[in-house]
């Protein structure tokens, strides 16, 4: 899937929120792309945009989302419905609020089968149970008759994963699936996801603000800040030799075992108000080394090395301006 220059705005009583300001990235077949950023930087909006589920008062104002050669933003609503849960599936952050409390777990997992594969209710239920079993959930048949509130947090998240995988999507979007779980459950889910990817060759867009999880799960990483993608590259490069000042500061914030006791590093300042974002590069108020251009113009994405792109004036001035390319 390829996202090109996506712009999303929220038209609220307080003003127009420029949530996404021209986001571009690509998720290749059989790879896991991580999407990192602070809360409020636009990660979830990006994910919802691919499914065209941006809630009002939000609206996609510009851009293209290409899946298998077709622009999703030009499709009809009925076509999109067929894509959701089948070609692209999503796992949400909070499994407790994301499952309908009045329906059994089995029924909710069976639904994608019913609406995408035209199975009858009984057959769909059977498929659902099989799916649960394939995810190593014991006593799957009884489990299917449970209601969400009767399951533990980790179980609920696995149910969400099952719901998403029902129709073997080519792209799976995971929006902070382990953030609300404790560490042991988190490890199980991560294992599960890896297994699934190996078996079904699903591409995954993994959204998180936890660099550790990103490091473990992802092949490539995109770093987001205030509605822009500031850096993309493969996971090793981004985490070991980050180019963008924001990525660098992010890395410094992660406490390490051999760090001396004392204050934790923070990035000074706060996330900008997206109704009136700062002029030029949105990060410049918090950057360590802003130049005059940074304060006036929004930087362009350039390719630093093959496969490693940065959006920062520090590097654009070094390279030829002709070299700018976004993919």
């Amino acid at each position: 899937m390829e996202v090109r220059d996506l712009k999303v705005q929220f038209f609220t009583y307080g003003g127009v929120v420029q949530a996404l300001d021209g986001v571009s990235f690509k998720v290749n077949k059989d790879e896991t792309l991580g999407l990192v950023g602070e809360t409020g930087c636009g990660k979830s909006v990006t994910a919802l945009s691919t499914l065209r589920l941006v809630p009002p008062p939000g609206r996609i104002v510009e851009g293209e989302i290409i899946l298998n050669g077709e622009n999703l933003l030009e499709k009809t609503e009925e076509d999109m419905r067929k894509i959701r849960g089948r070609a692209i599936a999503m796992i949400f952050q909070d499994p407790t609020s994301s499952l309908n409390p009045l329906f059994t777990v089995g029924f909710q997992i069976a639904e994608p089968f019913i609406y995408h594969q035209d199975l009858k209710k009984k057959e769909a239920q059977k498929s659902a149970i099989k799916l649960l079993e394939s995810m190593h959930i014991p006593d799957a048949e009884r489990r299917a008759r449970n209601y969400p509130h009767e399951c533990s947090g980790g179980m609920r998240q696995r149910i969400m994963v099952a719901m998403a995988l029902a129709c073997n999507p080519s792209l799976l979007i995971a929006d902070e699936p382990t953030t609300n779980l404790d560490v042991t459950i988190q490890a199980q889910i991560l294992e599960l996801m890896k297994e699934i990817q190996k078996k079904h060759h699903t591409s995954i867009l993994w959204i998180s603000h936890n660099l550790g999880v990103i490091a473990e799960m992802c092949d490539r990483v995109a770093v987001m800040y205030a509605g822009n993608i500031v850096e993309i590259g493969d996971v090793k490069t981004i985490l070991c030799e980050p180019a963008h000042p924001y990525t660098r500061m992010l890395k410094e914030c992660v406490p390490t075992a051999n760090q001396k006791k004392g204050e934790l590093t923070v990035i000074p300042g706060t996330v900008p108000n997206l109704i009136s974002p700062p002029a030029g590069c949105r990060f410049h108020p918090r950057c360590r080394e802003p130049t005059d251009t940074c304060k006036k113009e929004n930087p362009i994405m350039v390719e630093l090395e093959p496969g490693h792109y940065v959006s920062c004036w520090k590097y654009t001035q070094k390279n030829d301006k002709m070299n700018s390319g976004d993919d």
Partner: protein, 337 residues
């Protein structure tokens, strides 16, 4: 089972509330009036009757004794004798009960059958013209005095248009078996009577329905709006569930909970509305009985229907609570544990 235990517990609580209710009625009927004897005897009573009344209702005893005897009488089904009709209040109540029950039940069904869909529609077309119109419409119902609405409907549908009858419940002769006119006419094969009863019920039922529908529409609308914004509805959409199934299956089921729990309140509203409505349409039900007894200051009758009204509302509330638990599996688990 857990549900059974919940029901038992609620029934016990019901009795506690009933006890309080009856005590409150006692206070209103025996303590508040300036001259209880006069009040119970009726306005036009002679001196001799005062003594009889005093003895019959134990008004010569000390207050705590009156309280105990009051309950004893109640348990025996003795609600006193109306000085106006000179019959036992309990008998009068039994006679007038079916008419009100039928009217309230029909109105309640209308309110639900019309109000809930309107609320759902209003929510799905939020802030569009149809939504605003529906909201004003439902507000109008609760903004007008019921008796005025009844009078206006009579003016239009009887006087100007001549479509519907003015008063009474039925004008074709019928045999009274259970007292429920729809049941009786069907049992005796009296189809003309059945049709006539339907015609007569249209105006009073419309009045009652219209005055109570606003509340249900509003509650349904706001709970639907809440539902449509939940995470699990978002999940359903993300799964590719068709939109109308998302709305009418996923969202509506959850959204129905508040309006159903409002049933008890709606029923109470209908009872109150019935008092006034029945008066205007000369409907031979408890409402007319109540208004008449109030007009003639028929104290035993007033207390009698107050008790009946309180008891029936308490029972309906109990049913509503039980339904609420039965519908929502989350509550079921917490309440029946």
């Amino acid at each position: 089972m857990g549900l059974g235990r919940y029901i038992t517990r609620r029934i016990i609580l019901l009795f506690v509330v009933l006890f309080g209710l009856l005590s409150l009625t006692f206070i209103v009927s025996h303590v508040i009036p300036a001259d209880p004897v006069r009040a119970w005897a009726g306005e036009k009573s002679v001196l001799q009757t005062l003594d009889i009344i005093r003895q019959r209702y134990h008004l010569d005893q000390p207050l705590w004794m009156q309280y105990l005897l009051y309950f004893r009488d109640l348990l025996q089904g003795n609600l006193g004798i109306s000085p106006v009709t000179n019959r036992a209040v309990l008998l009068d109540l039994g006679y007038f009960f079916p008419a009100t029950f039928e009217l309230s039940l029909v109105s309640l069904l209308f309110v639900l059958a019309i109000g809930i869909p309107l609320g759902v529609i209003s929510a799905t077309r939020r802030n569009r013209l149809s939504d605003h119109l529906l909201r004003v419409f439902s507000l109008m119902g609760t903004s007008m005095p019921i008796f005025w609405l009844a009078l206006m409907l009579q003016l239009v549908f009887y006087f100007r248009l001549g479509w519907l009858p003015l008063t009474e419940r039925i004008e074709v002769p019928w045999t009274r078996i259970t007292g429920f006119v729809f049941v009786d006419t069907l049992i005796t094969g009296n189809l003309a009577g059945f049709g006539d009863a339907v015609k007569h019920m249209m105006l009073p039922a419309s009045v009652l329905t219209f005055s109570s529908i606003g509340f249900i529409v509003r509650i349904t609308r706001s709970s639907m709006l809440e539902e449509l914004g939940t995470d699990y509805v978002r999940t359903a959409r993300a799964k590719g569930v068709p939109e109308n199934i998302v709305v009418f299956r996923h969202a509506v089921k959850n959204a129905l909970i508040p309006p159903i729990t409002a049933l008890g309140y709606t029923f109470g509203n209908l009872l109150q509305g019935a008092v006034i409505t029945e008066t205007i349409f000369s409907w031979p039900g408890l409402g007319t009985y109540a208004a008449g007894s109030v007009q003639y200051l028929d104290f035993p009758a007033i207390m009698g229907f107050t008790i009946i009204a309180g008891v029936s509302v308490a029972i309906v509330n109990l049913i509503t609570d039980i339904m609420y638990v039965a519908i929502d599996p989350r509550i079921r688990s917490t309440e029946t544990r």
